[in-house]
């Protein structure tokens, strides 16, 4: 069994009095992709936000390589070796592509120059756009900037909230290729994906969430072939 890099235990969170996630527990192993699927409103995005410190937990624990981070502010969690890419508003629209990437190295500015070169190598399409404001980029380009920003300091754990949302089918395939490539370099990824079949195909493990709880958990393969999951969440009949 590989080392656990991110472990979530009995985590509950929500907005005000509305509890969205209830007693969620899951573990992410080094070098693996875990894909969270489930219907709208199941609390998938809220779970990622809570892990990243954007939403405050009500109770429970979040550990990164053994260190407790639950309840810390997002700006402190940013230094824990985990990077989070929100689904929406995931770039600074008024800042240029290059400035956006630089913001990805905020906690360790000395590495910014090398890191930018590495990210441009990963996304060659971004290099000619370095002086363009992110607000003027296409959806796919923006997604690359958001992803590149998160990759700047070579995180051990990556949280991705619907990396394929709003992208063209071609871009979706590219995005999944990139996710797989980054994972191949040893980055553990916890990913929420609306596109459940595609998401599970590149994942090692899958988690099905419903009504704020973990309904089912298993290897991605087993979820893809489970008739219950297909009927309820994948929209197909096996």
């Amino acid at each position: 069994m590989p080392e656990t890099v991110l472990s979530v235990a009995d985590l509950s969170s929500g907005y005000g009095k509305a509890v969205i996630c209830q007693d969620v527990s899951l573990a992410l192993c080094a070098g693996q992709i875990t894909c969270i699927i489930g219907p709208n409103g199941a609390g998938k995005s809220t779970l990622l936000k809570t892990i990243a410190g954007v939403v405050r937990p009500i109770s429970g624990s979040v550990r990164i390589t053994g260190r407790e981070i639950a309840g810390l502010p997002a700006s402190v969690i940013a230094r824990s070796g985990m990077a989070y890419v929100p689904q929406e508003a995931n770039v600074f629209r008024q800042l240029t592509t290059h400035e956006n990437l630089t913001m990805g190295a905020w906690t360790d500015p000395g590495r910014a120059a090398d890191a930018c070169a590495r990210v441009y190598a990963m996304f060659p399409d971004l290099e000619p756009l370095r002086r363009v404001r992110a607000g003027n980029l296409s959806g796919g380009q923006r997604q690359m900037v958001a992803f590149g920003m998160a990759m700047m300091l070579e995180p051990r754990v990556l949280l991705l909230d619907e990396p394929s949302a709003g992208l063209s089918p071609l871009m979706v395939r590219q995005m999944f290729d990139i996710v797989r490539r980054v994972n191949g370099d040893g980055v553990a990824i916890l990913m929420v994906e609306q596109n459940a079949i595609e998401g599970l195909r590149i994942a090692h493990r899958g988690v099905v969430m419903a009504a704020g709880r973990v309904a089912l958990e298993g290897s991605a393969e087993s979820l893809l072939t489970s008739s219950d999951v297909s009927e309820l969440y994948l929209g197909t009949r096996a």
Binding site: A52, G53, V54, P73, A74, S75, V76, A78, R79, Y84, P86, E88, A89, N90, V91, F92, R93, Q94, L95, E99, T102, M103, G104, W106, T107, P109, G135, G139, M149, G166
Partner: protein, 287 residues
């Protein structure tokens, strides 16, 4: 429009451009129109007056002292008044900021009375340039205003704290996710803007007079310049200031000068009806 009116208009513009930029920066970070700026400017004017006239310091030194003191006051007001009210609506905070102005203004009136005062500086003859009169103080105001504009640009575009200010103004949640400590950026921004309001108080004392209402009378033109430029856009604020400054002078052509003060109101009203994002602001494209 005569050359004299253009000169006067540019002096107006130079006076309101730095505080309009500061107003925009504050709005970008704190997300409400801060009408306490009138009080802050008055504090700056009286701080410089005290250092210059009561303590006998030369004006540049008094101006530096006033900037530091006003920076402290603006930061203090943020910590004592506005930070505890975080999460309140922009309208609530706007009303509170007007209260802050009234409090500062009346504390000053209590200490200094409502008398009209001036700095202790030698009276200088205005220069004549192609028939237009301009005082050396007015030239200084214009030069300093330009210097401040360039310095703010360098700060915002080329420094780490400047980039953080823009990032927090643009997307505070993402800035936090990337590790930016918003509290520190806010503290820096309030102090920086405070220094600019303090300097504006000094300029107002040079070009106008020092009295408890000096800041309040500048509030509407500053606000008009800031929203004309697209609120939250400090560069737009400079152009907004030039337009407001010239417009104020141009009204004298058609209306008695008492109505000059109304220009700002008219600009604000028309703009909010026709183009709420300002002339140079970009409407956010929501996906």
């Amino acid at each position: 429009m005569s050359l004299q009116m253009i000169v006067n208009g540019l002096v107006n513009a130079a006076l309101i451009a730095p505080p309009a930029m500061a107003f925009s920066l504050l709005f970008g970070i704190l997300r409400f129109p801060n009408f306490a700026i009138g009080g802050y400017i008055t504090v700056g004017a009286f701080a410089a007056y005290t250092l210059n006239v009561a303590l006998g310091l030369p004006l540049p030194l008094a101006a530096a002292g006033a900037m530091a003191f006003t920076a402290l006051v603006v930061w203090g007001a943020h910590v004592i008044v506005f930070r505890p009210m975080e999460g309140q609506s922009a309208i609530t905070l706007l009303v509170v900021s007007i209260a802050v102005t009234l409090i500062l203004e009346n504390v000053i009136r209590l200490i200094y009375s409502a008398d009209v005062r001036g700095f202790d500086i030698p009276l200088q003859r205005p220069w004549k340039v192609f028939g237009a009169r301009i005082t050396p103080e007015q030239v200084e105001i214009i030069v300093w205003s330009l210097v401040i504009g360039v310095m703010l640009h360098l700060l915002l575009a080329h420094t780490r704290i400047g980039r953080a200010m823009r990032a927090v103004a643009d997307n505070p949640t993402l800035a936090a996710i990337r590790g930016v400590n918003a509290a520190r950026v806010t503290a820096f921004t309030t102090a920086l803007c405070g220094a600019l309001f303090g300097l504006t108080g000094v300029f107002a004392g040079l070009d106008l007079v020092i009295e408890p209402l000096v800041g309040w009378n500048l509030t509407i033109p500053i606000f008009a310049a800031a929203i004309l430029g697209g609120i939250g856009s400090p560069y737009g604020a400079i152009l907004g200031a030039v337009l407001v400054g010239l417009a104020e002078e141009a009204t004298i052509l058609v209306l008695p000068s008492t109505y000059k003060i109304a220009v700002g109101f008219v600009i604000i009203a028309v703009l909010l009806l026709v183009r709420p994002q300002g002339l140079f602001g970009t409407a956010e494209i929501k996906k």
